[in-house]
Amino acid sequence: MAMHVAIVGSGQAGLQVALSLRELGHAGGVTLVGNEAHLPYHRPPMSKRGLAEPIGADELAIRTRDFIAQRTIALRLGVEVAGIDRQAQRLRLGEGERLDYDRLVLATGSVPRRLQLAGAHLPNVVSLKDYADLVRLRGLLAETRRAVLIGGGFVGLELAGSLTRAGVAVTVLEAAPRLLARAASADLSAYLETAHRARGVDLRCGVSIASIAGEARATAVLLSSGEALPADLVIVGVGADANDQLARSAGLATDRGILVDAAGRTSDPAIFAAGDCTRFDHPLYGPALRLESVNNALEQARAVAAGIAGQPAPDATIPWFWSDQFDLKIQLAGIASPLDRIETVHGEGDFVRHFVRDGVLRAVEAVNAPRAFMQARRRMAGEMASLNHMKEPA
């Protein structure tokens, strides 16, 4: 049976589902629907190289239009999806158009959290999520001498590096007592705090923001302490939530993310989901895990394609992530927990920590230590493989 697979979301996960379906020999139609007009593109370079280099959307494209067309993947770009009719297996697109599916994949990504603050709507208050945001940010850069970044997450810290290098005076404001409180160990937070300050960033943790001041444009960020931090540019990076709205409206099981199994299947057997918009159970890192990373988007996308093609779901893998801030190459694999014992690895790069529980290496954090990082990642992959093997029925 030649099934038509419709994929909603043209990011890294959505495109990979389409490509993997073709690699697996899927013979039916594949339609990739995305609300942005651009070809599927790499997001990570935007906050890393995107300010310093005038990278165009075409240069960020993951694959060319020809490459995608040769694999008979129909692109519907710049198209909004209004809803899912699960009974009819049909998408409602904008302009009243309909698109029938046999299998549907939701790869709708995440949406940046909005700041509930006076002044958050002003034109020089921006977030960086889509390519259009990058263009806007670059446009503002010419008249920016002082930038205040609200939120000390990975994207914020990458931008802090890019902006400082572009000659902008940067202040980073973090509400939590430390940077990356949910994503990194206290050791790594402390290391990065010192590193950013040493490179000229005015970094403040545990601060509370009262409002953004300005009439036509933001001119300062006001703290609850009464202090005013002058700013020509305010960047908001206070995290993102799973974009599960379509799934929720259609009555699929969600919990701040679309709930999926190891094959990426939702509570409707005809509907799959992959990437930032999902939550899934990981054998090592716990139930209802939600990850925002390229690696996870691609792993889940391949699992979904296998599921649709009727092949067994691939084994669970160790999630990994990287961030480039100034001259710091930060690499994380696995997910550290307060229950782990922390081992400091000396003599390798600038910073290496292992997170060990019951003799098993569960996570690694590294700064400018690529070899130590890759060694740890390989060891963890080996341990994960034996865990997967043990689970197989005898």
Binding site: P45, D66, V294, L298, W322, P370, R371, F373
Partner: protein, 106 residues
């Protein structure tokens, strides 16, 4: 514009040109080379744009960084002539460069 020849694992070749300063990975992606996955977008973070440099050309390339060397140790079948295409920049001196592609990156 410098010209590169990509030789696939099955022996078929693809020729492509790019601009001075452009990464070889980007030239490969633009030329539709399927096996150059470049999953991290060229950040030397994923090791999925691996290739083998034709003998004779290796010495003419800037040596790999620590980061690239560490990634290369973890690709499938690393060899002395292994490089990551995202870390190679086109220059006029590299006109005629020949790169051999692995059968797969995983």
């Amino acid at each position: 514009m410098p010209r590169i020849t990509f030789v696939a694992a099955d022996g078929s070749t693809t020729e492509a040109t790019g601009d001075v300063g452009q990464s070889v990975m980007s030239v490969a992606v633009n030329a539709g080379i399927e096996v150059i996955l470049a999953e991290c977008g060229g950040a030397c973070a994923c090791g999925t744009c691996h290739c083998y440099v034709e003998p004779g050309w290796l010495q003419r390339l800037a040596p790999p960084s620590d980061s690239e060397a560490a990634m290369i140790e973890c690709v499938i079948d690393p060899r002395p002539e292994s490089r990551l295409t995202c870390q190679l920049r086109l220059s006029d001196e590299l006109d005629g460069l020949v790169l051999h592609l692995p059968a797969a990156q995983y």
